[in-house]
Each structure stands twice: as C-alpha cells, then as structure tokens.
C-alpha cells in the first residue's frame, strides 16, 4: 500500500458511508476499538463538523426548519457535495441551490432564497472592504469618454431577487428576534442588496429601477450601453446609488 492509495481509499470509503470498506482494510483493529468503529468516528466527526459549519452560516434557515430537519438536510447536502477548499467557510456555496431540489423542503418554497440571503450576508461579512467612490477622479474624465465609463458595485455586495418576502422572513428568524412572528407570503417578493460598509453588513430593499440599474452595472455594461436600454432617469438614479454606497468604483473602457 502506498500513501496515495491509502488516501484515495478514504474518498471511496467516505462517499460510500459504509463502515466496512476499502480503507478499513488498512486499519489495525484494537481490543476495544475496531477498524470499523475507528472509521465511523472519523465519518461522524467530518459530517458533524460540516453540519455545524453550515449552521453557523445559515442560522435563519436552521431556525425556520428546526435542528433535526436542518441536520438531515445538511447530511444530504454533505453526501452529494464534496468540499474543494481548505476554507470550511466556502462549503455553503451551493446550499441554496441544493435546498431548491431537496424534496422534504419543497413545501417551504422560500427557504432556498433565505439561504441565498444568508450566503450573501456571509460573503459580505468576510469580503473585501468597500471603497468610496473617487469623485475627483470621476470629474477628470474627458467628456468624449463619459459614454465608456463602467461602474462597479462593492466587491462584497450581492443582488438578490425573490418572489417571497425573504427579508421579513429572515428578520423574524434571527436568534435574538422578539416580536410578531407572522409573515404573509402574499406580502410579495423583493429586490435586495446585501453589502458591507465599514464593519456592518446591510440588507436593503431596492426599487425596481434601482435593481435594474445595479444589475446592468453588475453585468459590466458601460454608461452608453445602459442608457440605450434603460427607461429610467439615469441622471437621477446614478447619484442616488452612489450616495447609498452601492457604486464605489469605475473604469473607462477603451
């Protein structure tokens, strides 16, 4: 057995979830601790560690469905989602997508979007610090080049669109929330931006024109491209987004 073979056999053993497997053949049995038991301690520890990692990033989802349901959902995610980063904080990247296809959660149609919101919060929390827009530099741009300006949102920001009132659902699902716990799904959907300014993460509702403009900016469109397809008033909206801190940088496309 080479070291590589031993390590490769662990992948198969882990994915099979069986206590008797190729890996345990390499393991020495002990008086009180069989090879299978030894392996199962690792299997459970890995699953437990990833589950608690997910519950730290998705506390509102956990509060909505309860601990047992959450743990089952996490286990199912773990069984189909390998981790490809040493950073366990990256592991929840596909959780929202997974919830959408997780049959036992199908009656909770909004849950996947709440997970998306929590993931955006997590990314904003640990993401790059937002800059503030350099107005002096902006004024230096030649008039003929203004059409080629491409604006940027803060790198830590995400845009989320949902058919459901997920900000309200998220708010009442916080650990420390006190107050009325009723949400009517008929309250309707929303457009949100999640971002961090200084040390604080913000979740804010956007109007439809704000949302459309930010989406165009996120797609990397230039001012002239946006002006051609955008029906709203750019001269009013753009300063509005800037003053909110949602547009923080620009480049001139050549």
């Amino acid at each position: 057995m080479s070291l590589k073979e031993l390590q490769e056999s662990f992948i198969k053993a882990f994915d099979s979830g069986q206590e008797k497997n190729q890996f345990t053949q390499f393991v020495k049995a002990k008086h009180l601790l069989s090879a299978e038991k030894g392996f199962s301690i690792y299997l459970n520890s890995i699953r437990g560690g990833l589950t608690s990692g997910l519950s730290i990033v998705f506390p509102a989802c956990k509060n909505i469905v309860g601990e047992d349901f959450f743990n089952k959902m996490a286990l199912s995610y773990i069984q189909e989602t390998p981790s490809y980063s040493p950073d366990v904080g990256e592991y929840g990247k596909y959780f929202s997508e997974f919830i959408k296809r997780f049959p036992p959660a199908s009656h909770l149609s909004y849950l996947s979007d709440v997970a998306k919101l929590e993931w955006a919060w997590h990314k904003a929390f640990n993401g790059l610090d937002a800059k503030s827009l350099d107005f002096a530099k902006l004024q230096d741009i030649d008039v003929e080049e203004t059409n080629n300006i491409q604006f940027f949102m803060p790198e830590n920001a995400s845009l989320i669109e949902s058919e459901y009132p997920i900000l309200h659902i998220w708010t009442i699902s916080q650990d420390d929330y006190q107050g009325d716990e009723v949400v009517h799904l008929e309250e309707g959907g929303e457009y949100l931006i999640v971002w961090r300014k200084g040390l604080e993460v913000f979740i804010e509702r956007l109007t439809e024109p704000q949302w459309q403009l930010l989406q165009a900016i996120q797609m990397g469109k230039t001012i002239s491209e946006i002006a051609n397809e955008f029906s709203g008033d750019l001269t009013q909206l753009l300063p509005e987004l800037t003053s909110c801190g949602w547009v923080t940088d620009f480049e001139v496309e050549s």
Binding site: Q7, Y42, V88, N156
Partner: protein, 283 residues
C-alpha cells in the same frame, strides 16, 4: 492592512495563553484580561476583509499572537496548496505571530478537503514525504513551523514506527519544531494502548516549542478529543510530567465546543500557570 506599532515585530511568549474565540472578543476588549498571549485559529482569519481582521488587529495591538491552522494537510499526496500558503503568509505579515503551527496529519486528497485531522501511517515513505513538504512550506512562509501530534482513533497495519519516533524524525529531518498536545497524547495512548510517559521520554527536549492543553470525553471504549469540557485530571498529571521534562514551555488552552464565559477559561489557564510556576520553583 496596517499594523500598529507594537505589532510590527514578533514577540517572545511565556506562560499559559488562551485560544482566542470570537465569542470572547467583546469581553477581551472591555476587560483586557491579563493573558500573556493568544492563539488564533488561523483559518478563521484567511478572509479578504471585514470585522474578523479588524478585531484581530485590535487584539494584536495588546497581545502577542500565535497562529494555529488546520488546513495545511501536510501529509497529503496532493501538491501543496500554494494559494492557501499565500494567504497564511499574508496573515503573518499582518500580525507578526510568534509561532505558526498546524498538525501532523492529512486532510485532503485529489483536491477534496475532509476538514478533519486524519492520521498518517508511520512509514518511511510518509516520513520522507512529510519532511520534503515541511521544507517547502518553511521556504514559502519564510519561517520555521510547528507541527502538532493529533488525537487518533485508528492506526495502520503498515506502520513501522511509533508515533513518537515518527514525530521526532520529522522534526529532526525537516527542521520544524513540535507543538506537543498533552491531551492528544493521553487520548491516543488510551485508544491505542501505549504508555504516555514513554511517549514524553522519547521526544527530544530541544524540539518542543509549545504545549496544548484541552478537554476530552470518555466514551468508555475510546476517548474523544472533544475540546468541549475542562481538562481531565490524568491530563493535568501528564502536563506536570511534561513540564518537568521540557521546562516552562509556552502552553495554550484550547476550547472549541460548549464555549464558556471567558473567565472560566481564564481560571483554567491560571491553574495551568500555577502548575508551571510550581515546577519551575521546584526545579
């Protein structure tokens, strides 16, 4: 990233430090407890920005820091994860830690991470493999690293050495130092029926730079390295033996589950500090 005056140089550490946990940030900022140094979980701070780094910077202004990681996967047969090492190096430049440590184990293969400290077989092949990688890591990080003995629940048929022989050889051949986790020795000795004292006696005194102390849980057929309760008394006894052999080695108290109020950890660290003082006095 800026670093404040005092933080710009590496500081020597003494006595019993405490594992820094986010739950305790506000207490520490408010009360500035008399802890000689803190040990951080490196991986929690390999982020691009935000509150974690700014809080760490604030702590660093008042306390020396050691960095303790879990993602290195030094025993993996994959190539080293250079991106991960770059992030570690960046964090080192930011906080100037006294030590940088990780575990003598493997946790990834074919790019898949298990986020677990899996034990290695103690063979010549694994020894040579790890030695070469430690040399590479020390080159990239520009510093001597510390490797910690892990708790384990399995051993391998192919092993030809004891764990203490393996650990010692790795340290001697690669030039890395040892972070000796006293609780891990106790846990593994129970699970694999070896003698803790023999383990301690075989580790060369000049290779140990740091101790770990933590709690474990008794499942009758085995002990689990749970880090969720206070230190077991046999581990305290073993700590005494370790101080007698190795001297007043900087020790950190680790707690990762059922995290209590800071004061509880502080008092437990004080207890270890007293044991350390007593042993020095007797010596």
């Amino acid at each position: 990233m800026k670093a404040e005056g005092r933080a710009q140089t590496q500081q020597s550490i003494y006595g019993v430090g405490v594992g820094l946990r986010p739950q305790h940030f506000s207490y520490i900022f408010k009360h500035r407890p008399k802890v000689p140094w803190f040990e951080i979980l490196t991986d929690n701070y390999l982020v691009d920005g935000g509150p974690m780094l700014s809080r760490l910077e604030k702590i660093r202004a008042d306390y020396p820091i050691v960095m303790h990681g879990v993602g290195l996967s030094i025993g993996s047969t994959d190539p080293l994860n250079i991106n991960y090492l770059k992030k570690i190096r960046q964090l080192m430049e930011f906080i100037h830690p006294t030590f940088v440590s990780d575990h003598l184990c493997w946790s990834s293969i074919h790019g898949r991470y298990f986020h677990e400290l899996l034990p290695l077989p103690y063979t010549e092949e694994a020894l040579n493999h790890v030695v070469a990688r430690v040399e590479q890591v020390q080159e990239i990080l520009g510093t001597q690293i510390l490797l910690e003995n892990v708790s384990s629940y399995i051993t391998y048929r192919e092993s030809t050495m004891t764990e203490w022989e393996f650990l010692t050889e790795i340290s001697k051949k690669s030039g890395c130092l040892i972070l000796l986790d006293i609780n891990n020795i106790y846990v593994s000795a129970y699970n694999h029926h070896f003698d803790c004292q023999k383990y301690l006696n075989h580790i060369p005194v000049d290779r140990v730079a740091q101790f770990h102390m933590a709690g474990c849980k008794d499942y009758k057929n085995y002990l689990l390295d749970s880090h969720g309760e206070s230190i077991q008394s046999p581990v305290l006894n073993l700590y005494q033996q370790a101080i007698k052999r190795f001297g007043a080695i900087p020790t950190s108290l680790e707690r990762d589950n059922n995290i209590p109020e800071f004061n509880v950890l502080f008092n437990e660290a004080q207890q270890l500090q007293e044991m350390m003082n007593e042993c020095i006095y007797v010596a």
